[in-house]
Amino acid sequence: MTLDLARWQFAIVTVFHFFFVPMTIGLGVMVAVMQTLALVRKDETWDRLSRFFGRIFLISLAVGVVTGIVLEFQFGLNWSAYSVFVGNIFGAPLAIEGLLAFFLESTFIGLWVFGRERLSPRLHLATIWMVSVGTILSALFILAANAWMQHPVGYTVEDGQAVLTDFGAVLGNSTLWASFVHTVVAAIATGGALVLGISIWRAHRASDDVERDAFRRGAAFTCGVVLVAVILVAVSGDIQARLMDVQQPMKMAAAEALYNTQNGASFSLLTIGNLSGQPVFQIRVPHLLSLIADLSWNGQVLGINQMQAAESARYGAGNYTPVLWLTYWSFRAMVGAGVLMILLGAWGVWLGWRKRLVQSRWFVRAALAGIALPIIANASGWIFTEAGRQPWIVYGLMQTAKGVSTVSAADVGGTTAAFVLVYSILAVLAAVLVVRAAHHPLDRVDEPSGPGEAPAAPRLVY
């Protein structure tokens, strides 16, 4: 009971946090780029846009930060046996994340928000880049920790503890770099899709030329960003799939619900009926799974039954198969949302090229709906990679069931309920505030002031 509740709690607090993380990373980059364009080109439009989207960025950041605090302690709260087992290795990137990334983003965000009048424009620009670098470094170190759970390297096991033997190997883990690139470009696509959706909608309904022109430029720019970013997401995802085929073949098989090893395996777009191997209806693309897994037309993809037998032989009798409906559908939700985003980006780039970006009513609707696509893809991708590793918490070394704390089910259940309640309220408030910020008029640009002419007292921001 404690185990199931602990799984639910971890899933809820992680996925909720991960709604905001890619948005924050992506918007951070977008706002920093806009502010850079404003300074380099001396262009008021970009300055206005950076302030406008900066407001939404701060809402996302605030919720991301407070829900991130919970995760720093989640392993100790609910997964203490896991923590003892992996602390030597898993703890190090977590601590380094705090020292290198959290300090950077949290300190410089204060300077960015409050320092507009106190810092020179160049220095003020540098602060948002520091924040952005901080958020990206944070992704790097937490993914280093996660990559080790997916594909442990640079360790030995001594006295029931995994002991670090090669920190370079942990940071050089192939799984880490593939997922780092995948996550960061996905984050940029997430921020980009939000900027695109809001910009195109604002440009469409703008009553004055200044606003229309500003948002049209914002939208045109982000169409390209989204398109390029999502293509890179696909490429890096493909690299991940090939690593997964070697490192976690069971996860690959579970992504497809492929029961038996096949050469030239096909890929199913969707399945109606159950995933037991006898579907009522399926749409399949021949050979695609082999191409994804192995880059070859007739490459072999291991099946669930064969992997189950192989892992039972290696680790002892037991169930080594993930929850298939979850892995199968989360994988499809992720890839499907990604494909739709490529289409959206390509449509936008084509419209922009034809100088008709703002005119198309259908594109406005699609772009607004498109804000949700990367959010769905991010959550599904995270659920897929974590659920696909089950029953392992550290692949091949420790099962999730063995990692849980000895706390009462009542404590875990009660706190989980409280997290659900508080996070639901946060979600509603964040959504309301983002919608409100999206309606905010573009700022008039203040006279640029150097530090010499800074007002004597700091401005009130909050």
Binding site: V63, I69, S83, G91, G98, T107, G110, V163
Partner: protein, 357 residues
């Protein structure tokens, strides 16, 4: 792995420094949150309070996250036993930090009075609960926890014993004192005067409660005093007494309008109080008031909890390189925002305020 090495002792000390830094910095954030309703007369005053810590509170809170992460990396068993053992207490702190954290960003988003009231309460209650629970926790560390083979299993109410509650109130008053001195240092006009008056009251309460906690902890004894490596009792005692004396001195200083010096004194008192708890605990990560996890050892020693020397060496190198850089830019932030806040000229004294964005 069960031996006490120089590296594990170093990391025990570093984690103590992280906590001390955390309480020094977020201590005044909590304090400002707690005294804001006492010193504010209108919406502008409350905004001034929030803006006084506005540029820095988020960076201050990272000290906690790094303390948590460093404990995980350097002493996995400590991290695991402490946070699963003190499950509901830590949960309370996390909830408090969540509602408090978003209150900064959310409060100004609507002009509505009820909306702002909600976030004022969130900021106040979040600061109060976090300060109280941290005080309770650190008093329990100093006194030792009843342990069994499974670690600490006494639940939340086992932590809320009378002595720990006195310690919790001491932390509330120390932070309220530290925070109102900070406000007096960062604001001007009537708000500054009111902050100074509140500081005086909070300071006197802090001295009394810290002294009471000190007596209670000393009376409880130290079952782990005989463990090899334990420091002589006079070390923590001296630190705690000096902390109390510094708090008393800070009361006198604030009465004489020496706000800068008073802030140095409250800050030093907080550092010393954490130092006292840490030197009292050493060489225990989790000291036992009764019972044991490992038979015959009164608590979980840092030697038992420590990571392998290789991990500690890697961490030492990373911390050695990056900590000075962090201190430098965090210090620079305080320099950039060193000026006092003034009441905006377009807002007359006690009147419904404008503003927010």
């Amino acid at each position: 792995m069960a031996t006490l090495t120089g590296l594990s002792a170093l990391w025990f000390a570093l984690i103590g420094l992280l906590w001390a830094g955390y309480f020094f910095l977020e201590g005044f954030d909590f304090g400002v949150g707690m005294v804001s309703p006492l010193v504010s007369r209108d919406d502008t005053d409350r905004r001034l309070c929030m803006n006084a810590v506005g540029p820095v509170w988020d960076g201050n809170e990272v000290w906690l996250l790094v303390a948590g992460g460093a404990t995980f990396a350097a002493f996995p068993l400590w991290y695991a036993s402490l946070f699963s053992g003190a499950y509901l207490a830590l949960f309370l702190v996390l909830m408090a930090l969540i509602v408090r954290g978003v209150s900064f960003e959310f409060r100004g988003k609507f002009q509505d009075r009820r909306w702002r009231r909600v976030w004022d309460v969130a900021n106040f209650a979040g600061s109060l609960v976090a300060a109280l629970v941290w005080g309770v926790a650190f008093t329990n560390f100093a006194h030792g926890l009843p342990l069994s083979r499974a670690g600490y299993t006494g639940g939340l109410f086992g932590l809320l014993n009378p002595l720990a509650l006195v310690g919790g109130l001491a932390a509330v008053c120390i932070f309220a004192f530290h925070g109102s001195v900070f406000l007096a240092l960062k604001t001007s006009g009537e708000l500054r005067q009111r902050a100074r008056r509140t500081a005086r009251t909070a300071g006197l309460a802090a001295v009394v409660l810290l002294a009471a906690t000190l007596v209670g902890v000393a009376a409880g004894g130290r079952p782990w005093a005989g463990v090899s490596g334990a420091l002589p009792g006079v070390t923590p005692l001296l630190m705690a007494v000096v902390a109390a004396v510094l708090l008393a001195a800070a009361v006198l200083l604030i009465v004489r309008s020496r706000e800068g010096l008073a802030f140095v004194a409250t800050g030093a008192a907080i550092l010393l109080a954490v130092g006292a708890v840490w030197s009292l605990m050493y060489p225990m990560a989790i000291p036992a008031s009764s019972g044991a996890v490992v038979p015959g050892v009164p608590g979980i020693t840092i030697g038992l909890a420590a990571s392998h020397p290789y991990t500690l060496t890697v961490m030492t190198i990373v911390a050695g390189i990056f900590t000075p850089i962090v201190l430098l830019y965090q210090g620079w932030t305080y320099w950039v925002f060193r000026r006092r806040l003034v009441r905006p000229l377009d807002v007359p004294a006690p009147v419904q305020a404008t503003g927010g964005h």
